[in-house]
Symmetry: C2
Subunit: 174 residues, 2 copies
DNA sequence: TAGGCTATCCTTAGCTT
DNA sequence: AAAGCTAAGGATAGCCT
């Protein structure tokens, strides 16, 4: 009934849609089994030519969470590697301590960036952030503004037409 | 040999790892078949208890791209819905045109947020952005700063201890 | 740790309803 | 479109090396 060996080739028909639907269902089932059997987290994103919005498993919220955690773990892994390299290169405790503080700050900045990203996607409200995080978030924003300003100045130098500029003033009266 | 009906339950053993490995391989194969057979894009993120970094299919870069496109499509869908609602409520062309400009601006803001997100993940460099995008990006940052400032003021009112504050000054000499 | 084997169960292409 | 049917082919749990 079916062809002997199914070579992964693009089928030409509306049967492609049927296959897509069936197999997509099968994959989500497999994913569900994997997560249940092994107690792990997983998510999938499948672009559907038949829907304007991609299929997301198990849910939009969970997928968002899983993806965010994935990115967070990438950052943490990168940070860890930096620390390892630092301690390997510099044996003295004092030096290592200095580097650690530096990495800590960088880690905090990256965390703030993640918070900003969450804000963009509506997962977090700025109003719910603790005060200390707000201050750090401000410094991250400041850094981005500096980058923008630098770029603007370069553009200004290269071409004489007037353009807008941004100035950020931070007052810390703690 | 195998139990009659495999009820999705968490197995207790190191066999869970074997199952995890086998099934993960199977799922990635299924995903590959789906994308090849039906010509669609897809990606998967599976948290592995045995690796510090989650399994990502088909690759970290592609998954990043697929996820970004997914989020982008969500934004576009939202925008499209807003436009439809707007045109349905207001029949007159003039009104519709005004609303359209408004939505266009909002769409631009959301696009800027996406660019900021890409910046955070190192996909885009601020220095490569065109000048007009830089100006819009600045306004997005400004809005976030305003949110931060509002929150800070609320905190200041509710508790008397001194705290830091952010002030944003924007000079637009176009 | 990884890979092979195999009986058994699962998935699904091609149909029909 | 959606759902059911069926047999061919695929996936895999429990072993083994």
């Amino acid at each position: 009934m079916r062809k002997k060996l199914k070579l992964p080739l693009i089928t030409n028909e509306r049967s492609r849609k049927a296959t897509f639907m069936k197999r997509k269902k099968g994959i989500t089932k497999k994913l569900h089994e994997l997560t249940t059997l092994c107690g792990v987290q997983a998510c999938g994103v499948i672009y559907s030519p038949y829907l304007s919005v991609p299929e997301v498993w198990p849910s939009r919220e969970t997928a968002n969470k899983v993806v965010s955690q994935w990115k967070m773990m990438l950052v943490m892994d990168k940070t860890k590697k930096m620390v390892n390299q630092e301690t390997f290169l510099k044996r003295r405790i004092t030096k290592a301590t200095e580097s650690w503080k530096k990495v800590q700050k960088e880690n905090k900045d990256l965390e703030m960036k993640n918070i900003m990203f969450d804000c963009h996607n509506g997962n977090t409200f700025v109003y719910r952030l603790p005060k200390c995080d707000l201050r750090d978030l401000g410094s991250v924003i400041e850094q981005h503004l500096k980058d923008v300003n630098r770029r603007m100045e370069i553009l200004k130098r290269n071409d004489d037409e007037s353009s807008s500029s941004l100035v950020l003033v931070i007052t810390d009266n703690i």
